[in-house]
């Protein structure tokens, strides 16, 4: 009985203590606990995020590499992997940082609940003081709610900030790309691979960093808007116009070095075609020298670009000045382009001259090995008048020795011309949009001979065309007129002086077909120096 009474009294006292605890401790304190714990929860979110972003308190994000980050970028249509550069923070790292901070915040809250539960399980006797335990419980709940509110508010805010930054990036990339492409389109710039057998041509070359890494798409994008950082740490520009000023341009197809100025200067490709021994190489060499003289006389300049072009140009000068024979072009492989930079016209330009051995134009199969024909701004067909049977027939008496001296082409022009043009048509090349210069060469030998009756040194295109018709080349003349958008005929001498005593370019200069084709390609060069 006394035990029972003691128990009732103890229970009553316990109930009274609980009541007073509710009334005087829990009741007044819980609003402050809720507010304080909630604020701590919000602060926890902010502190963990700050620690992750600034890397203090052991909160650094695990170190990522550029390839790791690039894997997080969306796929794209390209023949190449993404370039070896660090992605922009918005695309590569921001999600990693925010994700890591969020995971650590959730882990901290989970750890708090686990610790609380484990403490109760380890010492269940404390449950006797359950009214007092309500305060920590309310605090834990308020902290969890504070963290939740903090996560929604803070990550929502940063999400908005990143979205605004993304819109800014999108605008910057659009403007940069548009300006870059617009200027290059206006200039008619392209990158032409001059290397033998490649001759790939497009608007966007690859660029090589000093570390050796090739960047196939240097333009502004997810790897950087205003600049990109190569994996080696070097800072690279994001426009072709800037890249061309400091980086080595390389071919997207063969990975070999392109000419300086590729893709930023007006780019003109002019192949010369015709049968073997027609005089193609002579025309190209003499044409380069005559063009240099013409540009110098009109206030411009011409410079070979690249060591091989310099060597070819030196050789051309020696051949023209000495009047010696041109060596036979190597027929074992397709030619490399000879590139010259033209200045002084309304714009700077790169002119690529391709001179393949005549054997390549003797059959369709061999012509198909010459990719530079596909995307040329204009073509030059070299026509050797001494390979026209009607011309040879007119040379009687001692005159046939002239034919021997002329070393005529091995193939009739009407046989040679269709091989190349038919191939180009079959390959889908729109010949109707291209100009054709027909250069009737060896004028120095032809003029004055009986077959040249009706021709003169200053013959206009129509006169040369008429003369060719008279010599039985109607099919060629009409075929050229049908095939190409515009055809112009030139009577050219690659052996005699290209300028008169006053320095003016003669009508028979080998530069004339090039000047005309350059003009058609948008590189107008004045006929004479403007009066100052």
């Amino acid at each position: 009985m006394p035990v029972f009474i003691a128990a009732v009294i103890a229970l009553g006292l316990y109930g009274m203590v609980c009541y007073y605890a509710f009334v005087y401790v829990i009741g007044p304190a819980y609003p402050f606990v809720i507010l304080g714990a909630g604020a701590v929860g919000v602060l926890l979110v902010a502190v963990v995020l700050t620690g992750v972003l600034l890397g203090f308190g052991g909160q650094e994000v695990p170190e990522a590499t550029a390839p790791d980050l690039r894997k997080r970028l969306p796929g794209r249509k390209s023949n190449f992997e993404r370039d070896s550069a660090w992605p922009g923070y918005l695309f590569g790292q921001s999600r990693i940082d925010l994700g890591a901070a969020l995971r650590r915040t959730v882990r901290a809250v989970a750890w708090m609940w686990v610790l609380t539960t484990e403490s109760l399980v380890a010492a269940p006797v404390v449950l006797v003081f359950w009214p007092l335990l309500l305060l920590p419980l309310v605090g834990a709940l308020a902290l969890t709610a504070g963290v939740t509110v903090g996560v929604v508010a803070v990550y929502g805010l940063l999400g908005v900030v990143l979205a605004v930054a993304w819109l800014g990036w999108l605008a910057a990339v659009g403007v940069l790309r548009g300006l870059d492409l617009g200027v290059r389109l206006f200039r008619r710039a392209k990158a032409t691979c001059h290397h033998s057998g490649c001759n790939f041509r497009n608007r966007l070359p690859a660029y090589r960093c000093a570390c050796g890494q090739t960047h196939h798409d240097i333009r502004a994008g997810r790897l950087g808007a205003f600049a990109r950082r190569c994996e080696c740490g070097a800072l690279l520009p994001t426009t072709v116009l800037q890249a061309a000023a400091g980086l080595l341009a390389v071919c997207q197809k063969c990975d070999r070095e392109l000419r300086a100025g590729a893709a930023v200067l007006t780019d003109v490709v002019i192949p010369v075609f015709g049968p073997a021994s027609a005089g193609k190489t002579r025309l190209v060499r003499a044409g380069m020298v005559a063009l240099e003289a013409h540009l110098s006389a009109t206030g411009g300049s011409l410079h070979p670009v690249g060591s091989d072009s310099e060597e070819t140009f030196r050789d051309a000068i020696a051949v023209v000045e000495s009047g010696m024979q041109t060596t036979k072009t190597d027929a074992a492989r397709p030619p490399a382009g000879v590139t010259v930079a033209l200045t002084g016209a309304r714009r700077k330009a790169l002119l690529h001259l391709f001179d393949a051995a005549g054997e390549f134009f003797s059959s369709r199969e061999q012509s198909s090995e010459l990719p530079f024909l596909d995307d040329a701004q204009g073509l030059t067909f070299v026509l050797d008048p001494f390979s026209i049977p009607a011309v040879v027939d007119d040379l009687t008496g001692t005159l046939p020795s002239w034919v021997e001296a002329a070393q005529p082409a091995e193939m009739h022009p009407e046989q040679s011309y269709p091989i190349t043009t038919q191939l180009l048509r079959d390959q889908g090349v729109d010949l109707a949009s291209k100009p054709l210069a027909v250069a009737v060469v060896k004028a120095d030998l032809l003029l004055g001979l009986p077959p040249a009756a009706g021709l003169r040194a200053g013959a206009q295109s129509a006169e040369v065309e008429s003369w060719l018709r008279n010599k039985g080349l109607d099919n060629l003349v009409e075929g050229a007129g049908r095939d190409f958008g515009v055809v112009r005929y030139f009577l050219v001498s690659s052996l005699t002086a290209a300028t008169d005593a006053k320095g003016a370019t003669l009508p028979t200069s080998p530069a004339q077909p090039l000047l005309w084709l350059l003009g058609r390609a948008g590189v107008s060069i004045p006929a004479q120096r403007a009066a100052s």
Binding site: P31, L35, V42, L53, Q93
Partner: protein, 46 residues
């Protein structure tokens, strides 16, 4: 190839922290307005 993270990553992170601190400062300023805490406590007591 290993290289330190690009410097602009740090700039971006610092910018985000500045935004965060600014937002917290704004929230603190709002709480410090007369009556806000009292109003919240009154709501919790009710």
């Amino acid at each position: 190839m290993s290289a330190p993270l690009p410097p602009h990553y740090r700039s971006f992170r610092i910018a985000l922290v500045i935004v965060l601190v600014g937002a917290l400062a704004g929230a603190a300023w709002w709480f410090a307005q007369p009556g806000v805490v009292h109003e919240l406590l009154r709501l919790l007591h009710a």
